[in-house]
Symmetry: C2
Subunit: 352 residues, 2 copies
DNA sequence: AACATCATTCAAAGCGATTTCAAATTTTGT
DNA sequence: ACAAAATTTGAAATCGCTTTGAATGATGTT
């Protein structure tokens, strides 16, 4: 369909406002106003301008526009290389992108190797004014990136929560509630040794999950065994190995709480390898961030989950960023999303 | 550590070149030149400027710089939402980011929902001059995005290959060779019914893999059975289901070629569920893009793979983009990377 | 001492948009 | 028919940088 033209048609430099204005016999001012919906331009003129613009494929030069308006028209997302750019992040990113796409706002992804570099990256973004706001994710209990951003006066919305002096805008899911319910459910089914495959230590969400887990145990007077908790990244492989050694404990755990679907797959492999059957000999409830390519319903056996779409969270956070940029104060932007508990075949009564 | 200051210290607007120049008692011209390494500035002055700049944390305003230089200082990556933003892409992206990070080049990620939107996204990027180049990925045999980009005169480097009229810059891995060797190896081990879990139909790499597979078969005079090939996205779940039904064939396949590690995990689940043992009853060789969180060596049994780091490819592509922008003609930018065949426990002799 | 040369520095003109302020035109009021 | 008000358009300033062309001062040559 498309044909390259090296013909005399010329280098086809992108058309500028000036060109468009001349073409129409109008001033740049009027054309600019017409395109940006200012009221003081004749309706007929506006139509004429709009038509010409779309016919000629005119779009304002992004840099010029940004310079003139002072808005960067972009938001930033800084990712710590290998650790973070996993399936969760890409799903989240695509949620963010979904919102921004129609709004002419770019998503600037910066990858860094270390925590050190990460702070430097934010400083650069701030100084060069490349973004209007950033989204911050996977916070620690007292997140220094958040403190830095406040200091730099870069607006941001946090995916998760942190506990620093100043109010910040955030959206989080109810990890504590989710684990309290999931753990409670397993306890009600008679399980007494429930393994918790939690996220990295220091992350707020890991702590929240642990709190929920402990709350459920203590509500039913079940003693806590620290050997049943592991804190790791959410990968199939790590989970597999940890589950292997966990299954060698005596008495061994009769149920698993998996922090992610990847973790669940790893635990699942270990369970089978130990000759056990999931849903009968051992139970599992996994946290499901809802990946399009990994459906708890289609697993075998189907997987009981605590479910919350990380992609939707991304989209909503993008919305919240828009609100913050529109002037909504950070302390008014707090959203705690409930988490569904979906019971399927992988969780059953404790076998005697 | 960081402290927010709402004090009279003022709004702390980012410092401009003008401010820096005044602070130093120099003209903007000289400061600009000093910072950009032009030769005609006194060495002492240059040092003084550099020190002040870093002390005061000066960085040029990105929009102004871009407007003045005409360079966007960014490259684009357009992703088709859910389909593509999976683990492969995020790993690739982090490779690209690794190269760009130190070079003050941004990576602009745009997500779109459909093919239609994707073309529109490139048009927008072109018209608004937001990027200097883009990286194109997962091409089809005759990729219309590539044609469009040529037409729009946006430089790009293709990850993969396509067959359109004009020369394009590309980097690809030797998928044909990889599958020829893997298939050949399995045939040599006595396997005769080898299932190929290939990528989506229409993608160049899928075709290349199929060619390698068929070549190995025909080289050894083994007849081809179309029932043994499936073309799907690379996800655990889909692979699981396809493998399930594939294992119901009689005679059933004795070996599997998995298009990705996710696919391998799914097939693996199906194998176990069928009561078979991987490495003894059934063999498998998977393509390994080298995910930091999924190591073929740590699987159980360890997985034989055709290996090629997709992250490294990302980094190299970023380099190639830099070369193309520096003026290297597209037809001189072609790289075909060999693929390692790594034999581990999952591939063994065909059981009788 | 006068002139050319070289090394440094600066004032001002872009880059391509938005936006302020003023001018031109049309409409309205009497 | 004429002033006043409202509508519509434009010229020029601005955003923060790079870069051209000119100016300044120091050095070297004859």
């Amino acid at each position: 369909m498309a044909h390259r033209s090296d013909e005399p048609s010329g280098p086809k430099a992108a058309m500028r406002l000036k060109d468009l204005a001349e073409h129409l016999g109008l001033s740049q001012t009027t054309v600019s106003r017409a395109l940006n919906g200012y009221p003081e331009v004749n309706e007929a003129t506006r139509r004429r301008v709009a038509e010409a613009a779309s016919a000629l494929g005119y779009r304002p030069n992004a840099s010029a526009l940004r310079l003139a308006t002072g808005r960067a028209g972009a938001i930033g997302l800084v990712l710590r290389g290998a650790d973070e750019l996993g399936p969760h992040m890409s799903e989240f990113l695509s949620g963010v992108g979904a919102y921004m796409a129609n709004r002419e706002i770019d998503v600037l992804v910066t990858t860094v190797a270390s925590q050190q570099e990460e702070l430097a990256a934010y400083r650069r973004l701030a100084a060069s004014q490349k973004v209007d706001a950033v989204v911050l994710h996977s916070p620690t209990l007292k997140d220094e990136r958040a403190e830095l951003l406040l200091d730099l006066k870069i607006p941001f919305v946090l995916h998760g929560r942190t506990n620093i002096g100043h109010p910040v805008a955030w959206l989080d899911i109810d990890n504590t509630g989710a684990l309290e319910r999931a753990t409670g459910h397993l306890l009600d089914l008679g399980h007494r040794r429930i393994a918790l495959f939690n996220g990295l230590k220091g992350r707020t969400f890991s702590q929240h999950r642990e709190i929920g887990y402990l709350a459920a145990l203590s509500a039913r007077g079940v003693p806590f065994d620290s050997a049943l908790i592991v804190n790791t990244a959410f990968t199939d492989e790590i989970a597999f190995r940890m589950a292997q050694s966990m299954l060698e404990l005596r008495p061994r755990p009769t149920a698993f709480l998996a922090g992610s679907m990847m973790t669940a797959l790893g635990i699942f492999r270990a369970i089978r390898q130990a000759g056990l059957e999931l849903g009968r000999d051992v139970s599992m409830i996994a946290h499901d961030d809802v990946f399009p390519y990994l459906n708890a319903d289609n697993m075998y056996p189907t997987m009981s989950t605590t479910r919350s779409s990380i992609r939707q969270a991304g989209t909503r956070i993008a919305e919240l960023i828009a609100q913050v940029l529109a002037g909504k104060p950070a302390e008014d932007v707090h959203e705690l999303w409930p988490v569904e508990l979906v019971l399927r075949e992988s969780s059953g009564p404790a076998s005697p």
